[in-house]
Amino acid sequence: KADSFTLKEAMAVAQHHDAVSGTEKQHVADDYAKRLAAGWSRCQVLVSNALASLSGIKQNVHFCNYLNVSACRLTEAASNFTVVLYNPLPRRVTWNVRLPMNGTSYTVTDPKGKTVPNKVMQVSAFTKQVRQDKGSAVNELVFQAAAPALGFSTYSVSRLTEDSLWRRLAQRAQKTQL
C-alpha cells in the first residue's frame, strides 16, 4: 500500500527529544527505527507510482536503503542500470552520487546522452566493517549529477568490460597517431 502518512506519523514521534538526543531506552530507540523504516517502505511505493505516472513507464524500481554503508544489491550485480535523481528543493542542485560497485570502469551518461566524468574509489575497511553482510561492493562509483528544481533527472551507468576498454584504448591510440 502506498502512502506517506505512516512516515509522517513516525517522523512526528521522532521529534521527541528522546529520539533527537538519545535519552531513551535502547528498546525505544529500536522502535523509533522500526517505525521510520515502516514509513519509508510505504513511501517507496508512493515514489514508484509517482515516477510511473510522470514518465509513463511502468517498471520495477529499486531503492537502496543501505547506500549510507556502501551496500546495494542492484548496483553491485547489474552491469547496466539507470539512476533517477529526485530533487525536493525548489532550485537546481548538483550532487555527488556514490554507488557501491564491483567493477573498476564505468561509463555514465546524463539525460541528454552526454558522457559524465566519473571516478571509481575503493570502499574503505571501516565501511566494510559497518555494513557487515548487507553488501559486498569493493568499489564505489562517484559522479556528479544535476537535478532540476522539484523534478528528477536520469543517468545511465554501464560497466565497461575488458574488451570495450581495449577497444577504447585502441581508438584513442589511433586518434593520437592520426
Binding site: 531513551e24 525536493p88 528543493l89 571516478k119 574509489m121 536520469t154
Partner: protein, 269 residues
C-alpha cells in the same frame, strides 16, 4: 616526505606529512589561508567524584576532566586519490582501533568522543550554533545573558545543541561546520570548536532512562559510527551564502531511485 594536498578550483587542503592530519585550509577564490588542526579526542566519563555523585549518562554530560584525551597523534594517511570529480584522503585506523570498538569494555571507562578543530582565530570566548537549522544563536563561554553564572562544569556547562551547524569567526574569517545529525558542540578554548560524535557510557545517570547510554545494549558488541562534517572557510560576510543553501541541499538531499529497465525520459521540473 612532501605534505599531501587536495585541491579543486575553490579550496586547497593541506595535510601534515608527519602526522597525516589536516594542517591548513586555503580558500583560493578569497585568498584566505587558515592554519587548522583537526583531531579526535575522548572525554573520560565521570562516574561521580568528591564534588558530586553524578555520573555521566544519557541526560547528563559530565567528563571527569577538563582535558580530553587525544586518541592518536598521527593519522597514518595512506591513500590520496583525486581527479576532477572527486578527491579523498583516507585516514587509516585512526579511532576504531583504540576507542570505539568497545569490545569487552575491559578498561571500564565511559568514552565521549569528540572531533576538535583548532585555529589561530581570535574568537573572544564566542561561538555560534543554530536553533533547529533556522536562527543562529551567539554563545559565550562561561556566560549566561540573564544571570551571573558560577560555572561548576567548565566543559559540560559550555556545551550547546548543534542541530545543523556551528561556527567561529574573527573580524574577517569564519570557519563553519555543517553536521549530518544533531550533536552537541562547544568552543572550550578560543579559536577552537568541537563536536560530540559518539557517547558510550557504562553507568546510568539516574535521571529517568534507567540504562547506561551504550548502543546496542550489549557491552561485548562494538559499534562503528560513520558520519559527515562539511567544513567551510570564507569571509564572515560571504559565509551565510555558503552554509545556508548547502545545509538545505544536505538535509533535503536528492533521493536516488534505481532501475534496470529503460531510461526515464522525463527531465522537466
Amino acid at each position: 616526505g612532501d605534505s599531501l594536498q587536495l585541491q579543486n578550483e575553490y579550496y586547497k587542503v593541506t595535510f601534515d606529512s608527519d602526522t597525516g592530519l589536516v594542517s591548513q585550509i586555503e580558500n583560493l577564490h578569497k585568498g584566505i589561508n587558515l592554519p587548522i588542526t583537526q583531531n579526535f579526542y575522548w572525554y573520560n566519563a565521570s562516574i561521580g567524584d568528591a564534588k558530586s555523585s553524578q555520573a555521566s549518562g544519557a541526560y547528563i554530560f559530565r567528563p571527569d576532566s577538563f582535558n580530553p584525551l587525544l586518541i592518536s597523534k598521527t593519522a597514518k594517511t595512506y591513500v590520496v586519490k583525486h581527479n576532477a570529480v572527486y578527491g579523498e584522503v583516507i585516514l587509516g585506523a585512526l579511532i576504531n582501533k583504540d576507542v570505539s570498538s568497545g569490545k569487552g569494555q575491559r578498561d571500564r571507562w565511559g568514552k565521549e568522543i569528540i572531533s576538535r578543530f583548532k585555529t589561530p582565530l581570535q574568537t573572544n570566548a564566542t561561538f555560534y550554533t543554530d536553533a533547529n537549522g533556522r536562527e543562529i544563536l551567539q554563545r559565550r563561554r562561561d556566560y549566561r545573558a540573564t544571570w551571573k553564572l558560577e560555572q561548576t562544569e567548565p566543559v559540560a556547562g559550555n556545551y550547546y545543541p548543534v542541530n545543523s551547524r556551528i561556527y567561529i569567526k574573527d573580524g574577517k574569517q569564519q570557519l563553519t561546520v555543517l553536521t549530518d545529525r544533531s550533536q552537541g558542540g562547544s568552543s572550550i578554548m578560543d579559536g577552537s570548536f568541537e563536536l560530540m560524535l559518539h557517547r558510550r557510557l557504562l553507568y546510568d545517570d539516574h535521571r529517568g532512562v534507567d540504562e547506561p547510554l551504550s548502543e546496542p545494549g550489549d557491552y561485548n558488541v562494538g559499534l562503528v559510527v560513520r558520519g559527515k562534517h562539511i567544513l567551510f572557510l570564507d569571509t564572515v560576510d560571504a559565509s551565510a551564502d555558503l552554509h545556508r543553501p548547502q545545509a538545505q541541499q544536505e538535509f533535503m538531499s536528492p533521493q536516488i531511485v534505481l532501475s534496470t529497465g529503460q531510461q526515464y525520459p522525463y527531465w522537466m521540473g
